[in-house]
Symmetry: C2
Subunit: 453 residues, 2 copies
């Protein structure tokens, strides 16, 4: 019994290290032999993981017979970073071989001077394709679409379509749906390949096509396109202009990338990491993280200001300084939990203005239940440590209130920001922890001043 090969094995340290050994030894022959069995995406992974020296060596070896698909499989930001290490002849070849959307990504990664040079050397048709693509805004359906698709006149029958597909030489590499257009190139319907192939030759296309209105305008945001794919389980979708003229098509494999990017963005924004990229240069990463650290510094000084007003209380009872971070930190924790749930639910269109009130109620209830549990726990821990009943009461009561505040702020702030048109993922975090810190310190020290001093 042959063990089934796991397709992710190539990333294992021993396999990767033996590959580096080959690069060190400059054993080009063995490297070629090894790479021959690799998928372009696997080679792209290696290029991304290798250090500069080995990467250049590998690119050099590959350049003799470069598979254009490798360029497509690189992260766009990584491609932009290393595109200068790639010979121009490889770029020309790639642009001629690839679908228009992929070719446009490669052109887009070049600096202005090279972009001009490359555009001037490719065929006129290709150039028009790419300049058209680049004319759409980033992150829209227009930028995402490929122009290669199969158009079928609405009066055809199944036999005509099959004959046409057999004869035509410039079909897209892979396609799943055919688009039915009228004589003005306006979209009137779509049909899945599987429907064509399982129908008799004399069936009229207009009888089996879907007259669905399902298409997207070229200006639609790619996240909304992804949402339609997700909801309708689509494999491809038509992109149209204001007059319903068919412009291009978006395939599901491009949407998979959009979904990845979208989730990535939410995660990174929530941690205040901005648009930064794992392959970015140190200086651009530092910049991306600057804003969140900056707001956090301001928020921290605000919290300091609140504490400073209780200087007298702390002088009399320094142990309060040791206990107050517990209240702030637990509130922040509860707030972050609610916040993350809310931001994700908003992104997935599960939390809308329509069920906002109910959702806030639910979060506050969760905060109350955990509030009861953890205020009891902190009461006993504090009492065990200091044997002071009033001190234990002050910490547990303020912790209870702060957990509830945390869960309230955690859901209210992103809902409020969304309503105001601000992206809740990017702006909520600092606000929530600022509120829970300030409320936590204030309540704890106020109660302590009243009951203990």
């Amino acid at each position: 019994m042959k063990k089934h090969k796991n397709n992710l094995d190539f990333l294992k340290p021993d396999i990767f290290n033996s590959f580096i050994d080959l690069l060190e030894k400059k054993d080009t022959k063995k490297i070629f032999k090894k790479i021959k069995n690799f998928h372009p995406s696997e080679i792209a992974s290696y290029i991304q993981i290798l250090d500069v020296k080995h990467r250049k060596q590998l690119l050099n070896i590959l350049s003799k017979d470069f598979d254009s698909k490798i360029l497509v499989e690189l992260e766009p930001s990584f491609l932009q970073k290393i595109v200068n290490e790639i010979e121009l002849k490889i770029i020309y070849k790639a642009i001629n071989e690839l679908d228009s959307d992929d070719a446009a990504i490669i052109i887009g990664s070049l600096d202005d001077e090279k972009k001009k040079l490359v555009l001037s050397k490719i065929s006129r048709k290709e150039r028009t394709f790419i300049e058209d693509n680049l004319s759409y805004d980033e992150n829209t359906a227009g930028r995402l679409m490929q122009l290669e698709l199969v158009r079928i006149p609405v009066h055809s029958n199944v036999g005509d379509v099959i004959d046409y597909l057999r004869k035509k030489r410039t079909l897209p590499k892979v396609f799943y749906d055919l688009y039915i257009v009228d004589k003005n190139q306006k979209l009137v319907g779509t049909i899945e390949l599987s429907a064509i192939i399982s129908s008799s030759r004399n069936v009229k296309i207009s009888n089996i096509m879907k007259r669905s209105e399902l298409s997207v305008h070229s200006s639609l945001d790619q996240e909304d396109v992804a949402d339609i794919f997700r909801k309708r389980n689509l494999t491809s979708i038509a992109v149209i202009d204001d007059d319903r003229k068919l412009l291009g098509t978006i395939n599901v494999d491009d949407i998979v990338d959009v979904i990845d990017d979208e989730a990535q963005e939410d995660i990174l924004k929530l941690a205040g990491v901005g648009e930064q990229d794992f392959y970015g240069a140190i200086i651009s990463i530092t910049k991306a993280r600057f804003a969140w650290l900056f707001f956090n510094l301001i928020a921290a000084f605000f919290a300091s200001y609140v504490i400073k007003n209780f200087e007298g209380t702390i002088e009399k009872l320094a142990i309060l300084a040791a206990l107050m971070p517990i209240v702030a930190s637990m509130g922040g924790c509860s707030g972050t939990q609610s916040l993350t749930t809310a931001v994700r639910a908003i992104a997935m269109k599960q939390l809308t203005w329509s069920n906002a009130l109910r959702s806030v109620g639910k979060e506050v209830s969760v905060g109350m239940i955990n509030g009861v549990i953890f205020s009891a726990a902190s009461f006993f821990l504090t009492y065990y440590w200091f044997q002071e009943l009033l001190l234990s009461f002050v910490i547990s009561f303020s912790l209870f209130l702060n957990l509830i505040f945390g869960s309230f702020f955690g859901i209210f702030i992103p809902i409020f920001l969304t309503k105001k048109g601000v992206d809740p993922a990017i702006a909520s975090g600092t606000f929530v922890t600022m509120f829970t810190d300030i409320v936590g310190f204030f309540m704890f020290l106020s109660l302590a001043t009243i009951f203990l001093i």
Copy 2:
């Protein structure tokens, strides 16, 4: 010029509220008229957002002519929650109509008693299908696959295949690839529909099929399956057993759900929200959040213990208590940024053991640069506030060190946990903030004790 209809309009508050009005008025006729234009996924969205009373009303209205696809479009956890509100006859109908993988999800959402009842009432073939599916572990390729697929004997030619597809009545609803098997039902290749349709009838399948080894074992984790889809831009993949026998197929629309879930999981785990779900009951959400709050409480008491050792210092200079949270909070912020970047890069297979050292170096460099900037900022802010040179020095120097520590812990801890086989998303957060709090308080108060007391 007709404005293009945006497919997400149905979630707009006014449209949603007018729908609730119809439910309030029990205007069944108008509701039917409205729903007729809805896609099952849109109806599912409404069912998920409506409150209990209106949801029951809507389900009641729909039950007369229930579209089975609605059940598939509900979030599995939501389906589990409301499955008892759905009449059994609707469940029977759905199981007969849907693909095996979807039918299995519906059966899986029933409680044991109902599951037995339903399984006893469906056809034997259907029952075997579903019991087979449920016998695979959750989150594996086996559980994800559907059994409906098109098998083609390896010795066929294109004409045979087209004739077969035209004649066969029980084809999958939609299919993109055909699977080529030998006489023992072992997988020998795959072919895309578009390749069939664009070849002449007399071409041999074995000449145009891909002899690719690309298939997954039924036990492979669904996240690894998603990774293969992502890397190879696939539309479907074959699932095989130990003997390479063809078991089923996974289509890209199911993978889109896996990718969503995967990203969702990482986001929620990072915020300590566990496996909780937006539609979960209050009590299960509370439970899911308990662990992180619990560890945070322990970590916070540890930090308190560190501060308590400096009680004498704080008694003498209470203002230190106001400033120390700044150092801890900035370190935590820097740590969370590095952590999130690292966890995401690990999930996307961009950060592996092979480039770990380089990545740690990069994070620490970022921490150092931001450390210089923000320690300068905090120096000036503190000096402006208190006019104390030594105090400003103490805060800015400890803040500098803690930003570096934060970025180091932030990347080191997830790499270390991954190496040890622990999921870095779920466990890293508490560790990182615990370390940055403890290190931050300790350094600030130590330096203060040395220089200021």
